[in-house]
Symmetry: C2
Subunit: 767 residues, 2 copies
């Protein structure tokens, strides 16, 4: 694809010309979603060029038989995949019998817009068909936030140099496949196709998992805004239903098709009701009408932006980027359903098919806590609480006992799906993120009750895992955790990864500390949980012993914690000595070379310091930053944001800005040549953190809310809004002033650069 | 399968009853081969039960598209697979229209014999067909050693309780597949089917690799030894040619089909001549006749046994086992063709499809040196010499430069085929085995000239690899080799594996030492090689520096070298504490648990001590043995032999015997429940070493030949014969005496238990 093909704009993503090379990238970037379902921005009309067709329904997955080079004991049998769902956007267009296909037409005045403020996508273009007929096409579509089973399309065709016959054929195609299917299996079984009048529906179910989905459409036509009552031809194949409308249209008249569609599925309805509910959804949508539905959409997005928006003055590209990140996060997950979560590519692609990674706890929860009501983050925590039994089973498969839990690396339903031993079995730090998520949530929201009601069970099960996973080294006279992979996946099967060991120690301590706390405040809950978990004082003491005596690799020479025991045996050569032609190293170096190099894919020790910054003084943070940043290649999308935040912390604002650029426009400028596969949804939360925690310096340790706003010289000002313990606070920062506006009815106490301040209700403080 | 289904016998493998559960195991164990081709012991007649059909032609492979879970940079695109070749053994049998199929008949008096002394396989049985016809069947077949493109079958049917019509339909089937094909691709293209008179042939070629093969058969029939001149019906399908002979046979008359077959292939002939050569082969075979061919076969096997046989008195199962090992090794490789090598499963199965592993250099070369003329071992070395360019390319793919070579883990044509990063990229010790093979060969045969003519080029390229692969650790002030997997594959991506580092150091030193030696004795060769390799004094000095200062992990507390830097961080618990239900751990433990455990799959430090025993004193060997043997689970077929040899070295004869049992009857008693996939050919050489180097104590370090014979209490005596530097020496050991018989015309100097002795030509010494 072409870099720089997105037109800078504050509120919209815009492409102003058609280039076949950009189509698959556009399909990702212009993706639509409403938290319940989503779709790539595939064209409605036929497109015979390169395309990745994708439409997805939250929560619906397929257990694709796993593919391995060499089987290892303990690997999961399948990889739960996000499923490509029946395509309901399709509209075939024929002009005097000639198919409209941008791959074979000459397209001019092409304009595509993803309006992030209002939540819709539109496309207009003029096409000259091979038969020389020239037409203007305009399409607009959106997935309704208010009626989250409904989507709508308005599709218009205007003959510009002729009069003739135009046929529009809206269809539903349930004969879809996943491009990343391991064995090219078909994942769906079509059960029923129905056509009645201008409506049609297909009921299908997923094989193996038995999710039932009814995909339905209702259509109507106008000619120059006058409703037509056309006789359609219906075409009903085994896996596809199609209506065909044919109309004679005069030059400059506009033929418009309205297509409402609905996904209704068995996670939310009885399977025997699906068609009925879908029909009723479409009836309602048709009654409300396209324009009113669109007006609702604007209202609902406005409400989201009210707390979620970040403004940046003086840098349109930065402004566009941060809004794109916030917009995509909200399209992916809105927090109303604890069975859903945030996939690495959201609804924008198939890759990394499993829905949930540790990204949720480490990166996404802060965003959702600050921009939404606290029940949203709570739902994300409950997702893991509800998977506790599966996490215990997962640990059992690896030989752990007595209720120890290992949360999966990748999952859809709580079971592990990944199958590289160095990740599946060894990247166990993910287990700590589950507990950090709870800690972070309680710290931020003040909802301490979550711990006695739900959190403690998870905390005990995870602490048990750490206790059992650590072994005693006589040589070191310490507990060690052998054979792990840290967040830096460019080291595998290492011993005593600092991040992992520190987190293990912290998890156990945090669990013990809270058990103590609950004795006084929630004795009944404590009793219930301890009984359920069958946790004895003896086991607790043993856990404590492990936490007290865990080995943390440290270099006295450099005064830094080491990534792992043997890190200093490596040749330490800063990335500045790496020839540009060899970067990214994951595309030019063999895996062994990467593993034995000193280069870091993703913040590892720094990730630990970021999470527990309150335990490190600035001098130590600086030492660690100066040691590790020159060795980090940031070849994970989750890396630059952590470096940006710490750089800001130690007043390296230029470095922070450099790192911000790497994270914010990752997809829009396609740094890694892979946006066509989908957007990096979870790292978008990291971008948000870069501004709020990085430049804004927001921290929420120890029940306090503090800031230390700084601004890059490239910007005139920026602002963000957060919801902290039900108070809405807006933070504005320019080169001359810093303003805190309390938009709620209660006072908020904040700390700014070490000084405590009270911001009165509906008042502001300028600094 | 049933354990213990093989009848003990000194010279034959015998099964004396038919059990469907044993068929696939028998197919492996009774396999036939003549070094150029081989086949599983599939039945000639139809068998509808479980079976793994397999017929293989030495050197013919197919690059099967690789299958991986997650692609890593540097992985090979394909896995070169041993190919299942056209089936020429097939003879369909119909009795009064009823198909003979042991899966549907009642079989009595079943007797199957693999006669190892004479090199043939026979089967007799009585079958009652569903139509109640009772017949006696006798088949005998062999693959000719003398005419190594020819095989022969004699197949007889005798009606026992009826007279009626018998039809015999010999065929060639080129529609064969590999069961382990990754994507169920068809590997062959049939080019031509020819039938003329009683003969037929199919010419086919492998896709991608374009090996051409003509598979031909010639048939004749007798009735009670009278030649019949039958009209056959010919059936010619796209991928199969079949002749059908139908004859009325009286009760107790015997109808016999002679089927001669030939594989003729384009590695050995022009492709346009294949059919002609095959026809001429069959003409010759027919002229010689079955009985005379069989007589030749006996002669030729007798010649092999003359130097290769090992006798064991007082233990029939041990006798049978060692002969089975020697027999299978000779069936697999006879050493006349430097393009062939010894696959882990030889011609007995498809698994581990690539032909050559480091097993050849570390385990097989000693066997072939001692039991055959030295040109055989030389051919094995030349195989690698001829692959040097590919090994350099392989190293380049991993980022090495300047002519450094990394020999592949698995290969057919010199290119790497394996694709697990921890093996492919990290199990680099294999590279050292290439040089050890040269050293061992020169030491044993005295053919020093191999080094200036061929070996030095390989030695330099491999030493360069070690030089580049080692990095300097400031922390240790030593050169280190990070991120490797040793022979013990139960530790991956470790630092400073003792075996690897020791071998690397030795390779460089050995190379430098020989360059010095050549200056005086082979200056022209040295000059040629140094010029070709472009090796400077400076590079040589740098190599030397690495070898001088390489880190070898050592424990002062235990006075042993450590497997790797962090070994003592593990919990050290002897295997005696491992519950039996958890063994083998590779079937019950998850991979991570294996990796962080102290358990050793295969001799690792001990393997190094075995190879360089002359550098360790007995006290040190004992310390290492006592440290590592209790931690070794021997879950590699290559492990017990090394422990047996070292146990014998330190006078633990009972332990040596225990280890001998684990290696010798591995396949016959199917210890690992996997013999149905094929036999463990390369570990059979380890079994041979267990007797000769273990109990016999033979060593060949420093141009001397020494022995230290011991005998397990379970045996009455044993004897073996070796060819050392063109002298044939027979060693006999009983509990009362030890006899060395010189069967050649020159004196041999040997050292027995430290004492030098001369054995005169055609004389013996008793001790």
């Amino acid at each position: 694809m072409n870099k720089d093909f997105i037109v800078p704009n504050e509120w919209s993503i815009i492409v102003d010309h058609f280039d076949k090379a950009d189509v698959t990238a556009s399909e990702s970037i212009f993706s639509l979603g409403n938290g319940s379902m989503g779709q790539r921005a595939n064209y409605e009309e036929k497109y015979s060029g390169d395309s990745l067709q994708g439409s997805y329904i939250g929560g619906i997955y397929y257990p694709d038989k796993t593919r391995v080079g060499w089987w290892k004991n303990g690997y999961p049998e399948y990889f739960a995949k996000v499923l490509n769902a029946p395509n309901w956007i399709g509209i075939n267009v024929k002009i005097n019998g000639e198919v409209l296909d941008l791959n074979t037409c000459e397209a001019t005045s092409f304009y595509q817009e993803l309006n992030m403020k209002e939540g819709w996508m539109a496309r207009t273009f003029t096409a000259v068909l091979p038969n020389t007929n020239q037409i203007k096409v305009a399409s607009k579509r959106f997935l309704s936030l208010r009626y989250n089973e409904v989507g709508a399309i308005k599709y218009s065709v205007t003959p510009l140099n002729f009069e003739g016959q135009i046929s529009l054929s809206p269809y539903i195609d349930a004969g879809i496949v996943n491009q990343d299917a391991n064995y090219d299996e078909f994942f769906w079984k079509v059960l029923d196709c129905v056509i009645s009048q201008n409506n049609a529906a297909i009921t299908s179910k997923t094989l193996k998992t038995n999710f039932y989905v009814c995909t339905a459409m209702a259509t109507s036509l106008t000619l120059d805004d006058t409703l037509l009552s056309l006789k359609q031809i219906t075409i009903n194949k085994t896996k596809k239903v199609k209506l065909k409308y044919t109309q004679d249209v005069k030059q400059n008249q506009t033929l418009t098709l309205y297509k409402y569609a609905s996904y209704v599925q068995s996670m939310n309805h009885k399977k025997e009701d699906l068609l009925k509910v879908a029909t009723s959804n479409l009836q309602k949508a048709g009654d409300i009408g396209f324009d009113t539905l669109l007006a609702y959409q604007k209202e609902d997005w406005a409400a989201i932006w009210e707390t979620a928006d970040i403004t940046i003055e003086g840098d349109v590209k930065a402004q566009q980027a941060i809004r794109f990140n916030i917009f995509q996060l909200n399209q992916t997950y809105l927090g109303e359903d604890a069975r859903l979560n945030i996939g690495p590519k959201g609804f924008t692609g198939e890759k990394y098919g499993g829905s949930t990674y540790w990204d949720t706890e480490a990166y996404c929860i802060p965003f959702y806590m600050a921009t939404k009501d606290k029940h949203v983050a709570k739902n994300l925590l409950l997702y893991r609480y509800n998977h506790l039994e599966k996490a215990i089973e997962n640990a059992e498969k690896l030989g752990f006992t007595n209720g120890a839990a290992l949360y999966p690396m990748v999952t859809m339903n709580g079971e592990e799906c990944h199958n590289e031993w160095e990740i599946t079995f060894e990247e166990i730090h993910r287990n700590g993120a589950m507990i950090y998520g709870i800690y972070n949530y309680v710290n931020y929201t003040g909802d301490y009750e979550y711990i006695p009601k739900f959190g403690l069970e998870v905390m005990i099960a995870v602490s048990r895992f750490w206790h059992q996973r650590a072994t005693f080294s006589k040589e070191k006279n310490k507990y060690v955790i052998l054979g792990v992979t840290g967040p830096n996946e460019y080291e595998n099967n290492v011993n005593n990864n600092f991040y992992t060991n520190y987190l293990a120690q912290w998890c156990i301590n945090f669990t013990i500390e809270n058990i103590e706390k609950l004795k006084a405040d929630y004795p009944k809950d404590l009793d219930r949980v301890l009984t359920k978990a069958n946790l004895s004082t003896n086991e607790l003491e043993q856990m404590h012993e492990v936490a007290q005596n865990i080995h943390l690799p440290y270099s006295k020479d450099y005064e830094v914690f080491l990534q792992q025991d043997s890190f200093l045996d490596k040749e330490i050569v800063p990335t500045s000595f790496l020839p540009k032609s060899q970067r990214p190293i994951n595309q030019t170096w063999s895996w062994d070379r990467i593993l034995r190099s000193c280069y870091i894919k993703q913040a590892d020790v720094l990730q630990g310091i970021y999470l527990f910054e309150n335990n490190f003084d600035t001098e130590s943070i600086t030492k660690h930053f100066d040691f590790y940043e020159p060795l980090t290649v940031h070849e994970s999308s989750l890396s630059p944001c952590i470096h940006a935040i710490l750089a800001a912390k130690i007043n390296r604002i230029d470095k922070a800005y450099e790192m911000y650029l790497r994270t914010a426009r990752l997809d829009l400028d396609d740094y890694n040549n892979e946006v066509s596969e989908g957007c990096h949804i979870t790292s978008m939360a990291g971008t948000w953190m870069t501004i709020v925690q990085g430049f804004g310096g927001m921290r929420t340790f120890n029940n306090s809310l503090s800031f230390n706003p700084q601004i890059p010289s490239q910007w005139q000002s920026y602002s963000f809004t957060i919801n902290y313990r039900d108070c809405v606070l807006k933070v504005y920062k320019s080169h001359t002033e810093c303003v805190f506006t309390n938009e709620s009815d209660a006072p908020i106490t904040i700390e700014v650069a070490g000084e405590k301040l009270e911001v009165l209700p509906n008042a502001l403080i300028k600094i």
